[in-house]
Amino acid sequence: MDETLKYILIIVLVILILVSIAAGLIWVERRMLALWQDRLGPNRVGPFGIFQVVADMIKIFFKEDWIPRFADKKVFILAPAVVMITILLSFAIVPFTPEIVVVNFNIGILFFLAMSSLGAYSVVLGGWASNNKYALLGAIRGSAQMISYEVFMGLSLMGVVILAGSFNMTDIVMAQKGGWFFIPQFVGFVIFFIAGIAETHRLPLDIPEAESELVAGYHSEYSGMKFGMFFVGEYLGITLISALITTLFFGGWLGFHFLPPIVWFLVKMFAFILIFILLRAGLPRPRYDQLMSFGWKILLPVSLLNLLVTGALVLYFNR
């Protein structure tokens, strides 16, 4: 009974904290972007403007929750839920500390890859159900981008799996006690990072929602809290990719002893979230065909080569 209660507590806390982090990231992003663009950002509501999120939330809850008459109503409602559900489910495998992990799957990474594949459905369904040309174009681009970048997202992680000898996330972290995997797997780390940006369709790879071409892409027709779900889902995605990079390449909760493991994990995770925001501030969006050819012509061969070399070296040194 105690064990069950503990797990329920962990699940509830993880969901609550993650959703608040994702919502808080909206403020963090606006502040940091402003910082890098010589502006101030929202600084009026509460200390440093931190309650801007609360104000925005109150506002978005009172917005008219409008569904266009021409939309496919059921699918239209389903789409924003899919993105939240898949990303929150992916968090189940992330070991925040040795104790705080929702499910200790032995197929951890595969579960994450499966969930991120399902995440593409929210883009496709949202764009399709909107019955709007911009939304459909965004959805087509989004699905193509997410499906192609998923390929080497998976392949880039295989180097880590070879080194750790396990798909289990906790085992992977434990295997990094001797040295974090971003050193032997630097290529894999870079590819995973780029694929992660494409997977969360963040700037500079936000081609499904490129506002200068497609209004807002697949969520053009969404308003109110349904739009809020897409929005928070995007920030949850950033948090997820940052958490995974931390776990897979930067030793997860491992760190020096003067700080507890959860602090180490959060520090590393937030560092990557800030890099995500910096990328948004610093880089322009590539053209759609450039993105695709970059993915298939450069990232795919490099990740295959990385996998091959890692496998060969591990075989050579371990036998």
Partner: protein, 171 residues
Amino acid sequence: MFNDLRSLWIVFLHMFHKRVTIEYPEKKAYLPPRWRGRIVLTRDADHGERCVACYLCAAACPVGCISLQATEDDQARRYPEFFRINFSRCIFCGYCEEACPTYAIQLIPDFEMGEYNRQNLVYEKEDLLIEGQGKYHGYNFYKVAGLDAGVKGKGEGENEYKPVDVKKLMP
């Protein structure tokens, strides 16, 4: 690739630059004296109204937000009976100021005219008329005009010739 990393680094360094934001209600931006903001009617150096109700401003106004009614006092000096500017229509183009022959109507660097009620944006003469002389000090239209409106006698103005005596032959 290295290009992108370099631009990321440059963007990162912007963290330590000076902010360009002016936190408005507390700090205010400098507005130059010729900034086109709220419209006022000025007075001359002798505290008389400059406006001679010539209707040129109303004619020049592209949105037709100025309305006035001319009248005369006992010394045949023209002045507006009422002068009304609808600031909810005004586009602050400054054409009225350009058209004004007496420097009466002027645009000043003030933009804080927000109202909750649209009707409050209709300014009457008492709202528009200020005590000062605005941008042009010491100017008095009736001192340079040929008209005797109680300010100076005929021919006594600045750069003004004596009136021709029609009963003499001399030029």
